[in-house]
């Protein structure tokens, strides 16, 4: 049944490719330079609520690629090359990663982001999602906890070892047989500790092409193995709490978001998100809940409207007596970014309390990482902070 649906979808996408090709030929035969028009989508705007149309998921006008500008023609060149590859993938029902596509014409594509943009454009043109193009991306995300599922016939049983991390499947759309006795899903920003304080020397030394000795590398590995996700695994958080923990390791990729969305839809579990108390953490939170600007056209399949913000809040620094050393002043860039975040329409419309928390951070002028909560006790996060927060949410919240 699943196979039939996929086959029909493929045929439909192939039909749309022929229509697109035909339209281009007709334009050329009319000596017109207007090759294709791509709808523009936005996941948010900065208009007042009265003037905001983002909630309707409508396109915000069209972008026409013509033969009049070099930038357009370059983009068109990339788009057509990628479209040709996709047509072949669909015809032969093969899958390919974005990276594979990039390496087919690296000198033309010049950068992975160029291919990503072309794929997004094609999705909009053909009115489909990326997985419909048989283009997959290797998932960055990890999952652990009380969960079982199958992917393309392969069985994944996380429950056997609930504190072991598993990669999120590549072909998320082929995930079936999802089963879980969990009470909630916890989304954490970071798998590994990517702190501000000690990280700079590492990046700096990378730029200078330092060669690390084996001992140094061991230190580095141990450094990055002090993560929130890893902390929870080490603390056997999932053994003590019946839950599923997911991380996208920073800004979440499409498979992670899509997988989370499927879990939330199928299991109907409450989902909580734990991010750093800084503008970047907040932006990651909004990406999970509202979708990203780049893939706004597909936001309806990727966003998780039920996601709740668990922390860390600016007020936590006082509530949990974080020492001043753990609080980092907001940089000018942080402040600008926060102010820009405050302008987003969906915050005003759907989560005004998030705006208050964000504004509170701006007023205090400091930020901190989740790891800072471990300042008094290394297991504070898994033993006190998270259980109390989740209990509070589950009892007082809408769940």
């Amino acid at each position: 049944m699943e196979g039939n649906r996929g086959s029909l979808e493929r045929i439909d996408v192939l039909r749309k490719i022929t229509e697109l090709t035909k339209s281009m030929i007709v334009e050329l035969s009319n000596r017109s330079s207007k090759m294709i028009s791509i709808d523009r989508f936005k996941s948010y705007c900065t208009n007042s609520l009265e003037n905001c149309c983002c909630r309707f998921n409508l396109s915000e006008g069209k972008e026409t690629l013509t033969l009049q500008r070099e930038s357009h023609v370059r983009r068109l060149d990339v788009l057509l090359r990628v479209l040709l590859i996709i047509q072949q993938l669909l015809r032969e029902n093969r899958h390919s990663s974005k990276r594979d596509i990039y390496y087919m014409h690296p000198s033309v594509f010049t950068d992975q982001s160029v291919v990503d943009r072309a794929i997004n454009d094609i999705c909009i043109l053909l009115q489909c999602s990326r997985h419909n193009l048989n283009v997959v991306s290797v998932g960055n995300g990890l999952v652990m906890g009380w969960l079982r599922f199958s992917e393309a016939g392969r069985r994944f049983d996380c429950i056997k070892k609930p504190n072991s991390a598993h990669f999120i499947p590549v072909q998320v759309e082929e995930v079936t047989d999802i089963a879980s006795p969990a009470d909630y899903i916890l989304v954490v920003e970071k798998e590994s500790g990517e702190g501000y304080s000690d990280k700079s020397w590492f990046h700096g030394s990378r730029k200078l092409n330092f060669k690390f000795h084996f001992d140094q590398l061991k230190y580095l590995v141990s450094y990055f193995e002090r993560p929130v996700f890893q902390r929870l695994a080490n603390d056997r958080f999932c053994s003590r709490n019946r839950c599923i923990v997911i991380t996208g390791r920073g800004y979440p990729d499409v498979p992670t978001r899509r997988f989370l969305r499927i879990l939330v839809d199928v299991l109907a579990l409450p989902a909580f998100c734990l991010v750093d108390c800084d503008p970047y953490g907040f932006d990651i939170l909004t990406t999970y809940r509202f979708g990203s600007m780049q893939m706004a056209y597909d936001a309806k399949y990727l966003r998780i409207p039920q996601l709740q913000w668990l922390g860390a809040f600016a007020a936590d620094s006082e509530k949990y007596n974080l020492p001043e050393q753990c609080l980092i002043p907001l940089t000018l860039q942080d402040k600008r970014r926060t102010e820009a975040l405050l302008q987003r329409c969906y915050l005003r419309r759907e989560v005004p309390q998030w705006r208050l928390e964000l504004d509170s951070m701006l007023q205090r002028g400091v930020k901190f990482e989740i790891e800072a909560l471990s300042v008094h006790n290394i297991s504070f996060l898994s033993e006190e902070y998270l259980p109390s927060k989740i209990k509070n949410e589950l009892t007082t919240g809408k769940f």
């Binding site: 022929t18 030929i25 050329l28 500008r69 370059r74």
Partner: protein, 621 residues
């Protein structure tokens, strides 16, 4: 205005005469007569420049100044004799001025006037005598006319019988050249002529074996801020592809561009504003990189970089109706001319951006062709081939790819052509009439009427064929497009017919001066009238005199009716009447001159080339 040389002086006087012709808005005649006084040593030559334009005013000459020292002062006494009359004047005023005298204290010496005897005409004759060889003057004037008017100079050395210099060049010019063409068209055609000849009196066959090898565009802008003054800037661009640069007359400066500048129908020196206008042009939009613009006094020289061009660009700019240059308008006019060129000739003067974009065409075509050929949908493939104009058997990837590539390049080139804004075009002569003429012409042809077929016409003599009010409209421009063989039959004399003078080629003399002998045109019959080339002309009497105008250009048939038998002559007349009835725009003016009752001249030009084609077809059979 002080003149440094004799050349400057007569160029100014001729230019002024041309200006008066243009202002008169009628067909005019300009005569330049070089007459050597017998037995004078050093040789004294009388230069007479006469025109039938509007009359001149004394202020035109009052500001002129001859230096008291120098070469010019040695060869010329500074005295000019002027005879002039306006159309409604009852007499011809005559006076002399000594331009060596102080401008502020200078006063004309009035000479006895000539009575016009009620005849309406206008014109000016300026005479001066200089110590100079006729050959030198002739060479300079030839050069001037070639470059600026492209008509020929003929000098008559009266003291030596048979020494008349008939330096006339005639050629078949395209039918697009027309009496009704605008000054802009003439600028363009004149520039083409100039390019073809590029300095010599004959067309250079090695550089440009064919006139069709030249491609041209033109543009014109008007400024009409004030009611009284209106600056008009016209520009023409001619591009010639150079097949063999080694044998090219342009030599090392093959890829440089000469920009000729004219002001009020006369050549002018290059100003700062003009150079600035040239450098301000966004040449990259035309795929050109300007290295520098150099003032070469008689013209501006544009040097292109970084690589030499494979073609040669020629530009001419003409500003009139205002004293100052407006660099913005000059720039705009040249840009319009370049845009016009681009719109007419796809693939030429493509902008740098377009060239860059075109480089993507093969890749785009390959991808689109791939999308077609890799598809399983046979109906889709067939449909695509049909849209591309290909047959089902032409479904090979390479053919499809090549076709798509050509279409992409074509679309890209179309983009490069700017939509032309409202292009201001000079009003044409007989604007209304063109349509009528076309209509009549077609009707005539459909009805089996052949103006060349005189045998089938009835007889009858037109009594008074008066022009249909055309004289007061714009002047008829140049004399072009005729069959030069006719001139083997005709005498050629030493003056010039001139319409819209500056950029014409061809055109040829008459047998007299414009104003002489106290009034009416003193024309020597049979020596001038039929030199209106692409005409169907009927001459009824050897002594007839007439002035005439013509319509659209085309087949030349000049007939001297007196040479025909009576029956034929009558047939000719009847045909002419028919044509007159059919073509209301016939311009005909008879009865000008002394012997008005003795004959009439009907001159008629026919519009379309169908008749001519038919005639040629018959000839071939």
């Amino acid at each position: 205005m002080e003149f440094a040389s004799l050349q400057d002086l007569y160029q100014h006087l001729i230019s002024s005469a041309i200006r008066r012709c243009i202002c008169s808005e009628r067909l005019c005649r300009l005569s330049v007569l070089l007459q050597r006084s017998p037995a004078s040593d050093p040789p004294l030559v009388c230069i007479s420049i006469s025109d039938t334009g509007i009359g001149s005013c004394i202020q035109e000459f009052q500001d002129l100044k001859c230096p008291v020292e120098g070469i010019l002062a040695e060869t010329w006494d500074g005295v000019v004799y002027v005879r002039t009359t306006n159309i409604f004047d009852t007499k011809i005023s005559c006076y002399q001025l000594n331009l060596k005298e102080n401008v502020s204290t200078r006063k004309p010496i009035w000479l006895p006037s000539n009575i016009k005897h009620g005849v309406k005409f206008s014109g000016t004759e300026v005479c001066l005598s200089v110590y100079e060889s006729v050959d030198v003057l002739l060479a300079e004037m030839n050069c001037f006319f070639q470059k600026n008017i492209a008509m020929e100079v003929v000098a008559d050395g009266q003291d030596i019988p048979g020494s008349r210099n008939d330096a006339v060049f005639l050629e078949n010019l395209p039918a697009s050249s027309s009496f009704t063409a605008s000054t802009l068209d003439h600028l363009k055609l004149g520039l083409e002529d100039y390019v073809l000849k590029h300095g010599s009196s004959l067309t250079c066959d090695s550089c440009f074996p064919n006139r069709d090898d030249l491609r041209s565009g033109s543009g014109m802008v008007c400024e009409d801020k004030h009611k009284t003054t209106k600056l008009v800037v016209e520009a023409a661009v001619v591009i010639s592809e150079i097949s063999n640069s080694a044998n090219n007359c342009f030599g090392a400066r093959c890829s440089d561009t000469e920009v000729l500048c004219f002001k009020d129908f006369a050549p002018c020196s290059i100003s700062e504003a003009f150079l600035k206008a040239l450098t301000d042009i966004d040449w990259k939009r035309y795929g050109l990189t300007l290295e520098c613009a150099i003032d070469q006094r008689s013209h501006a020289l544009l040097k292109w970089g970084p690589t030499p061009l494979s073609f040669h660009i020629h530009i001419a700019v003409h500003c009139h109706h205002k004293t100052r240059f407006d660099k913005k308008l000059i720039r705009k006019a040249i840009e319009l001319a370049l845009d016009d060129f681009k719109n007419k000739y796809a693939g030429f003067l493509l902008s740098a951006d377009t060239l860059k974009i075109s480089m993507f065409a093969p890749d785009l075509a390959k991808a689109i062709a791939g999308l077609i050929s890799y598809s399983n949908d046979m109906d889709f493939k067939k449909e695509c081939l049909a849209i591309l104009g290909l047959q089902p058997h032409q479904s090979e990837g390479e053919i499809v790819e090549e076709t798509i590539k050509n279409k992409i390049i074509s679309a890209i080139e179309v983009n490069d052509q700017r939509p032309q804004g409202i292009k201001e075009v000079a009003p044409l002569l007989f604007e209304d009439g063109r349509r009528k003429l076309q209509f009549v012409n077609d009707e005539c042809y459909k009805g089996g009427f052949d103006p060349m077929d005189f045998s089938s016409t009835e007889t009858g003599l037109p009594v008074n064929l008066v022009p249909a009010g055309i004289i007061n409209r714009r002047p008829v421009p140049i004399l072009r497009g005729w069959d030069s063989t006719i001139f083997k039959l005709l005498p050629i004399s030493h003056c010039y017919w001139i319409g819209q003078p500056r950029w014409s080629t061809g055109g040829i003399g008459d047998g007299g001066e414009a104003l002489c002998d106290g009034g009416a045109l003193e024309l020597e019959p049979l020596e001038w009238w039929f030199l209106l080339p692409p005409c169907l002309a009927f001459f009824l009497d050897r002594e007839a005199e007439a002035s005439l105008l013509c319509l659209q250009c085309f087949p030349l048939l000049a007939m001297q009716a007196s040479k025909f038998e009576d029956q034929t002559r009558k047939a000719i007349i009847t045909t002419s009447v028919k044509l007159l009835e059919l073509i209301p725009l016939l311009i005909f003016s008879g009865n000008v001159g002394r012997n008005t009752e003795r004959g009439k001249l009907v001159c008629l030009r026919l519009c379309q080339s169908k008749w001519e084609l038919k005639r040629r077809e018959k000839g071939r059979r």
